[in-house]
């Protein structure tokens, strides 16, 4: 037989420590010693101080028909609303010392603790609700109550007319019980159940649920006090100290110096990631210093509403086939509208993307899009990632369109922005392109210095770096700076050897892998070979042109905000600007198609550092404003 005790509440109070099976109204065989629940003993820790925590609402405490102590049929809620309630479900014949008797014992102890606090005492009602209506009549409950209720306390011992009336109430409280039967299927009178005691506030909300392991008078008393204190503070001012404006740009999960022993986290809280909508159309009337006018196609004029619609689509996770992925999951606003956390992107269901997510900043000026320059306009470009099986994985244009049109909010917006039209293949592109079109960023320290003629806008190292950029290092050969503006790109494609090395290098037998801060291990490549997919090839512009001489050529990216867009190169293979500069200093990676513009630069360490200083001065003045605006966008999670 299982552990079984027949004890009355009064008897119980004298128990301490280990108890043994006790023979009561049923003769029971010897039982092994049983350890009493924590509620019978000193709490093994200091109960958290009342008011130092909150007790969230766990849902409404349900109502039902019950019999009060006088046998009158009333609603349970008659006892709710004016006081804090400690509600337990019990039955008087319960013989599990750590079951119903524990609930009753703890309630009794709570009485003791609060006896000297009349104000609080008057705010509490204990309810012991029987789930054994056949035996626990109102008279039985009244009799049972006499053992427990202390003077001045409100403790109701309630029952019900029948199991059929009781069961919905038990179900509503998630109080499952099993009425035990013997081998003949006859009821034994015992009821197996999980002990549940509920703390309920005056709004009839459940605020805590205790079971045998948790139920203790110390914590129950402090929980009651916590509720009382929280109610009192509702009437006082809810002023909170304003927190300082957090830095917006940069990954919130800071990993710089991860390879060093001195690495410390500087992780930002996601709760503080919020923002305000900005006037993004301002860039049309007032192009940031250092940029040419924003090109806007005549057939897709900008409007505030269209940009807002495009923004909503850009951040909407429903735009992927399985609702997990928005454009912004790879083009993350605070991470330079790219991803600082991945060398090469990952798409729906974790599918492999071969290349690094390019930044969206100033994408409007690109004459050709994607690393391999395969697309010519933002309006068309959007369908690439939307339909790629390894990106957002939508099965068809039609499926995307119909999904958007089934969302009432979008239907209304499209009709408004596009003069009565529903979403279609063109206007979805127009809207998304319009948002990306206004993500322009300049007026950097460099722009102020060169175009704004502010001599102190850049520091000496950055100025020296600029001179090297346009001089000895000749970076400007591809990353152009014009007389009145700078896009830092020639819009052409070049072979730097990065792609070549990717395709032609042999897989190393041992890979050096950083597995924790400052902790490298030499991983046996063969050990993970069975888990690794076959790495997809990447031949660059050759995949578009079909011409052998175009192998491993990739588009020259602009350099604005480059400090925010790590890792670098089309495959994200270089982590820092220092390493990028060193890469070009050595003349790239030799191959028969290496661009002749690449050659060893013979830069000194100081010169390399100066170029990095220059590149670091290219961060636009409006990035935080664009990021804040992005944070304000809805993300389309299922509600």
């Amino acid at each position: 037989m299982p552990v079984a005790l027949c004890v009355t509440g009064i008897f119980l109070f004298s128990l301490a420590g280990t108890v043994f099976a006790h023979s009561g109204h049923n003769k029971k065989p010897e039982q092994p010693p049983q350890v009493l629940a924590p509620g019978y003993q000193s709490l093994n820790f200091t109960a958290p101080k009342a008011g130092s925590y909150t007790l969230p609402q766990l849902g409404p405490a349900s109502d039902g028909n019950i019999l009060d102590m006088q046998g009158k049929s009333v609603r349970l809620h008659q006892f709710f609303g004016d006081k804090y309630l400690v509600l337990s479900f019990i039955y008087t014949q319960c013989d599990d010392v750590n079951g119903c008797p524990l609930a009753t014992y703890v309630s009794s102890q709570v009485q003791n603790r609060l006896a000297a606090e009349p104000l609080l005492r008057d705010k509490i009602r204990f309810i012991s609700m029987s789930f054994d209506p056949a035996n626990d009549t109102p008279a039985v409950m009244r009799d049972y109550a006499k053992n427990f209720v202390k003077k001045g306390f409100d403790w109701q011992f309630l029952t019900s007319t029948s199991e059929s009336e009781l069961d919905p109430l038990l179900a509503a409280y998630g109080q499952s019980i099993l009425r035990d039967v013997d081998e003949n299927g006859d009821t034994t009178g015992t009821i197996s159940h999980i002990l549940r005691v509920f703390l309920i506030d005056t709004d009839k909300q459940i605020r805590n649920i205790y079971n045998t392991s948790f139920l203790h008078p110390d914590t129950v008393v402090n929980d009651i006090k916590t509720l009382a204190m929280s109610a009192a503070s509702k009437t006082t001012s809810g002023l909170s100290t304003p927190s300082p404006e957090p830095r917006l740009h940069g990954a919130g999960d800071y990993k710089q110096g991860y390879a060093n022993k001195s690495y410390v986290t500087q992780a930002q809280s996601l709760q503080s990631r919020s923002g305000h909508e900005a006037d993004l159309l301002q860039v049309i009337s007032q192009t940031p210093l250092g940029l040419p006018a924003v090109p806007v196609p005549a057939e897709n004029p900008l409007s505030k509403e269209k940009v807002r619609l495009g923004r909503q689509l850009f951040y909407d996770r429903r735009l992927s086939h399985n609702n997990t992925f928005s454009c912004a999951m790879c083009h993350i606003p605070e991470q330079g509208f790219t991803s600082n956390e991945l060398a090469t992107a990952v798409g729906v269901e974790g599918r492999t993307v071969r290349r690094n997510a390019p930044t969206i900043y100033n994408a409007v000026y690109a004459k050709r899009l994607f690393h391999d320059a395969r697309e010519t306009s933002l309006e068309q470009q959007i369908w690439g990632p939307l339909l790629a099986h390894n990106e957002m994985a939508n099965p068809s244009v039609g499926q995307v369109i119909s999904k958007i049109n089934q969302i009432p909010d979008y239907r209304q917006q499209f009709e408004k922005v596009f003069k009565g039209q529903q979403a279609d293949i063109k206007n979805v592109g127009d809207a998304l392109a319009s948002y990306q079109r206004v993500l322009v960023s300049a007026n950097s320290d460099f722009d102020q210095w060169l175009f704004g003629k502010k001599n102190d806008a850049m520091n000496k190292d950055a100025i020296a770096g600029y001179r090297l950029f346009v001089g000895k290092a000749a970076c400007v050969s591809c990353h152009l700076i014009e007389e009145n503006h700078a896009l830092f790109t020639d819009h052409k494609l070049h072979n730097t050897g990065v792609g070549y090395a990717n395709s032609m290098s042999k897989v190393p037998v041992v890979q050096r892998v950083l597995v924790a801060p400052a902790t490298w291990i030499n991983v046996d490549t063969a050990a993970i070979a069975d888990s690794a997919e076959v790495k997809p090839g990447d031949l660059g512009y050759y995949e578009i042109s079909g011409l052998p001489e175009d192998r491993w050529k990739y588009r020259t990216p602009g350099l604005r905000n480059i400090q925010l867009t790590a890792p670098y190169m089309h495959d994200g293979s270089i982590s820092t600007l220092e390493e990028v500069v060193e890469f070009y200093n050595t003349g790239g990676i030799n191959n028969e198609l290496l661009d002749p513009l690449l050659r060893p630069l013979h830069l000194s360490a100081k010169e390399k550092q100066q170029i990095v200083a220059f590149l670091s001065s290219l961060t636009g003045s409006n990035v935080d404003s664009l990021i804040s605006d992005a944070f304000a966008a809805p993300v389309g999670n299922t509600r």
Binding site: P48, S192, I194, F214, N322, I521, A527, T638
Partner: protein
């Protein structure tokens, strides 16, 4: 009247389990909430939360029921398979405190499937699907552990909807599936009152366990969606991705749900298993990348500390310790190393000095282990994550459910089910089921219908 005894004791056990001496001969998986209803005697079923995979059967995630009662004529067979629609990266599952419902999370879509396992334990039904977890929680992605607390479930997230990185939260739901609140993992910017005891407060999450007697909740830290969803080979070669693993274990105040102390445990600490003995105030975890057993323990001053106490296999071979399971007497810790398919028994009678005492290759890869409370039966499944699992192997023994007997010296295979050959998918978390929990008698075998082979 064994069933009744089992059931009654099971409910009592819910109350006294954490208090009882280890000599009690209860039988159940040892790794669930210490105050949950328990099975005594022989379990009838194992519910296997199984990932759907393209090209296998109906390609959907599903809950697979395996009959594991040797007295059943269906012993060793799949008797039910319930597909839930879509691939959600089925991963972990957990029973509610009353064991009436099984919660099973999807790490990709962040859906949570709640199965009714009490109406007919042989044939779980889908009771409810939570599909707005991300919205309700304020952006938590990847519901991982579903851990029973009284009347509610504590769910540890792995990621977030902002950057698919590792910063995340614990999310609390009622047993009925109503969202309660979100407890964000402590970060440098918002430690939530916790002490950053070392260099790290990364805000990452993975597992959650509780020690009610010490008012302590413990969480560990893995990685975000980007990494757990991507191809393992690609990730190992991505220097940026490899920086995005958790390096922390957090000690929480269980009652207030407030973080108290952030401990440095570098290398992605995963599963947490706390000791059962009433004086054993410690838990084990293993680090996936650095391949170590860590002890998370309360010292003599009442301070919680973390200490690396043993190496697991050869780290350069990326053994990748995954699931662990502590025996009821706190003397043995099973550690499965995914990459080499080994189950390893460590003698942890001195928790500060675990010793590997037994090793057995279970398959080409291995992930989860569930052992009976008396330790005499152990079940293993193979799958870790859809895109980390082995695409090939010389033995072909990649995706399986296997049942073993353990006599303290050797694991003896009782039966195995090839989940790909059976067109089911990739088997992951196992939970035990039994008629006895719900006052039900096991039907005569002739009454039990075996699911048609898919």
């Amino acid at each position: 009247m064994k069933n009744i005894l089992q059931r009654l004791t099971s409910t009592l056990c819910a109350s006294v389990f954490g208090l009882l001496a280890a000599s009690a001969s209860f039988a159940d998986e040892t790794c669930m909430s210490p105050y949950m209803a328990k099975i005594v005697g022989q379990e009838d079923f194992i519910y296997v939360w199984t990932l759907g995979v393209e090209g296998v059967g109906d390609e959907q995630d599903k809950l697979v029921t395996v009959d594991v009662n040797p007295n059943s004529k269906n012993y060793g067979k799949v008797i039910n398979s319930l597909s839930v629609g879509g691939r959600n990266e089925a991963h972990h599952s957990g029973l509610t405190d009353d064991r009436r419902y099984l919660w099973a999370g999807g790490l990709d879509t962040s859906k949570i499937f709640i199965f009714n396992v009490h109406s007919d334990p042989a044939k779980p039904r889908l009771y409810k699907t939570i599909d707005n977890f991300v919205d309700k929680s304020g952006g938590v992605v990847g519901p991982h552990t579903t851990y029973a607390l009284p009347g509610r479930m504590m769910i540890s997230g792995l990621s977030n909807d902002k950057d698919h990185g590792g910063r995340t939260a614990l999310v609390e739901y009622t047993n009925g599936g109503q969202y309660i609140t979100t407890h964000w993992m402590p970060t440098d910017e918002n430690l939530g009152g916790a002490m950053k005891s070392g260099q790290f407060a990364d805000g990452y999450g993975y597992d959650v366990r509780a020690l009610p007697r010490r008012n302590v909740m413990v969480t560990s830290s893995f990685t975000g969606w980007n990494n757990y969803m991507m191809d393992l080979g690609k990730m190992m070669g991505d220097g940026e991705a490899m920086k995005r693993f958790g390096n922390t274990v957090v000690i929480w105040d269980l009652h207030t749900r407030k973080p108290k102390k952030v401990l440095d445990v570098p290398g992605a600490p995963l599963e947490i298993r706390c000791a059962w003995g009433s004086q054993n105030n410690y838990c084990f975890t293993t680090t996936a990348l650095t391949s170590k057993i860590w002890l998370i323990y309360e010292d003599k001053m009442g301070e919680w500390q973390a200490k690396a106490v043993a190496d697991i296999a050869d780290a350069s071979k990326i053994p990748l310790p995954v699931d662990i399971s502590i025996s009821a007497d706190d003397n043995t810790l099973w550690v499965d190393t995914w990459n080499d398919g080994m189950a390893r028994a460590f003698d942890v009678s001195d928790p500060f000095s675990p010793k590997e005492v037994y090793t057995k290759k279970i398959g080409a890869q291995i992930n989860m282990i569930s052992q009976s409370w008396d330790g005499s039966r152990a079940y293993f499944t193979s799958s870790l994550l859809a895109n980390w699992d082995k695409k090939k192997s010389d033995s072909g023994d990649v995706q399986y459910f296997k049942a073993y007997d353990w006599d303290g010296k050797e694991l003896k295979l009782k039966f195995a089910i090839d989940f790909v050959a059976e067109k089911l998918g990739l088997p992951h978390q196992m939970r035990f089921g039994a008629y006895s929990l719900y006052a039900q008698k096991r039907p005569q075998d002739s009454d039990v219908k075996v699911a048609a082979s898919p």
